[in-house]
Symmetry: C2
Subunit: 207 residues, 2 copies
C-alpha cells in the first residue's frame, strides 16, 4: 500500500482546480467534460476521480477554496503593519481580477450554477459572507484606535458600500462592452476616500 502524502495530495487538488477553472472559463461549466479537465491537468480520469467524484464537486471545491484563501488571508492580515495599504491592495486586486476575461466568465458560470444547485448556492453565500468579513476586518484595522462614536459611519456600512460598488463594476463590465471602467474607478475612489481617516491622523498605521 502506498503511503499518503498530504502535501502531494493538496498539490494534486490545486492542479485539478486550476485546470478546471481554465476549462470552465473557456467553454463554460456544462460544455466542459471531465476528459478535458484531465487533459489540461495532465492526469488520468482514475486519478482525477480519486480526488473529485464529479464536475459538480469540482465547482463546489473551486468556490470553497476561494473562501478558504480569503479566510486565511484575513487571519494572517491581522498581523500586518500598514492597514491602509492592505485595504487599498485588497480592493485593487478585486478590480484587477474583474479585468481578466477568464475570471469574469468563471464568476458568471458559478453564479449560474448557484441558481440551479443549492449546494453551490450555499457555498457562494459563504464566500460572500467571508468577503464581507474580510473587508470589514480591513476597515476595522484602518480605524483601529478610533472610538466607535468618532467614526464617520459604522465599518459594516462602509463595507456594504464598497462591496456594492465592486459588484456593480463587475456587473457592468460583464453586461456592457462600452462600460467606462475608469469612471467606475473614480466613483469607487471617492467612496473609498470617505472610508479612510484623514492622512494627518493615520489611525490605521500601528507600526
Amino acid at each position: 500500500m502506498r503511503k499518503i502524502d498530504p502535501a502531494r495530495q493538496q498539490e494534486r487538488r490545486r492542479q485539478i482546480l486550476a485546470a478546471a477553472a481554465e476549462c470552465f472559463a473557456e467553454n463554460g461549466f456544462h460544455a466542459t467534460s471531465t476528459a478535458q479537465i484531465c487533459a489540461r491537468a495532465a492526469m488520468s480520469p482514475g486519478n482525477l476521480f480519486h480526488y473529485y467524484a464529479s464536475k459538480a464537486e469540482i465547482i463546489e471545491a473551486l468556490v470553497a477554496s476561494d473562501t478558504d484563501a480569503l479566510r486565511e488571508r484575513r487571519q494572517a492580515g491581522a498581523a500586518r503593519g500598514d492597514a491602509r495599504a492592505a485595504l487599498v491592495d485588497w480592493i485593487d486586486e478585486n478590480l484587477a481580477r474583474y479585468r481578466e476575461p477568464g475570471y469574469a466568465r468563471l464568476g458568471m458560470e458559478i453564479l449560474a450554477e448557484a441558481v440551479r444547485n443549492p449546494r453551490v448556492h450555499t457555498l457562494v453565500m459563504a464566500n460572500e459572507s467571508e468577503r464581507k468579513a474580510s473587508l470589514t476586518a480591513l476597515l476595522a484595522a484602518v480605524w483601529q484606535g478610533v472610538s466607535r462614536d468618532a467614526l464617520p459611519r459604522p465599518v459594516g456600512e462602509m463595507a456594504d458600500g464598497l462591496l456594492l460598488l465592486l459588484d456593480g463594476i463587475y456587473s457592468r463590465s460583464v453586461v456592457d462592452p462600452q462600460f467606462d471602467a475608469a469612471a467606475g474607478g473614480r466613483l469607487l475612489d471617492a467612496v473609498l476616500r470617505d472610508c479612510l481617516p484623514p492622512v494627518a491622523g493615520r489611525a490605521g498605521e500601528q507600526s
Copy 2:
C-alpha cells in the same frame, strides 16, 4: 377559418408571459414545466404552443418584451414635462423591483440562462443597451439647454455611474441577506444629486 384578432393575440401572449414569469420566479426556469405554465395561464398546451414553441422561446420573449417596454417608454418620455421627476421615478421603480423577491429570482434565472444560451445572452445584452439608452435620455432631458462644456461630466458617464450603483444594489440584495439597502440608497442618492443641475436653475423643466 377563424379570423385572427391581433389585439387578442397580443393579450394571449401577455397572459402567457405573466404566468411564465410567476412560475420561473417561484421554481426556477429548469424546474418549471410547460404544463405548469399552461395551468397558471388557464390555457391548453395546444393553445400555448401556438404562441411559443418551447420554454426557451418564452424566456426569450420575456427579455424581449421588457426591452420593448423600456424602448416605448423612452420614446414616449421625450414628450413628458418634468424631466427631473421622470429620472427620479425611473430609478425608484428599479429599486422597488429589486425589493420584490420574485423579480430578484427571475433576474438571476435569466442571467443564468444567458450564460448557457447565446440567444438569451444576445437579448440580455440588447436589454442592457436599452436600459443605458433610457437612462442616458432621461439625463439628457434633465440637462437640456445646458451646453456640453457646462456639464459636470458627460451624461453617458453619469448613466454608467447610476447603472453601476443599481446593479450593485441588486447584486448585494441577492447575495447578502444582511445587506443594508438603506445605506445603498444613501450612496445612490448622493451620486444622483451629482447628476442633477442645481434646483435654482432647473434646466430639466421645459414646461
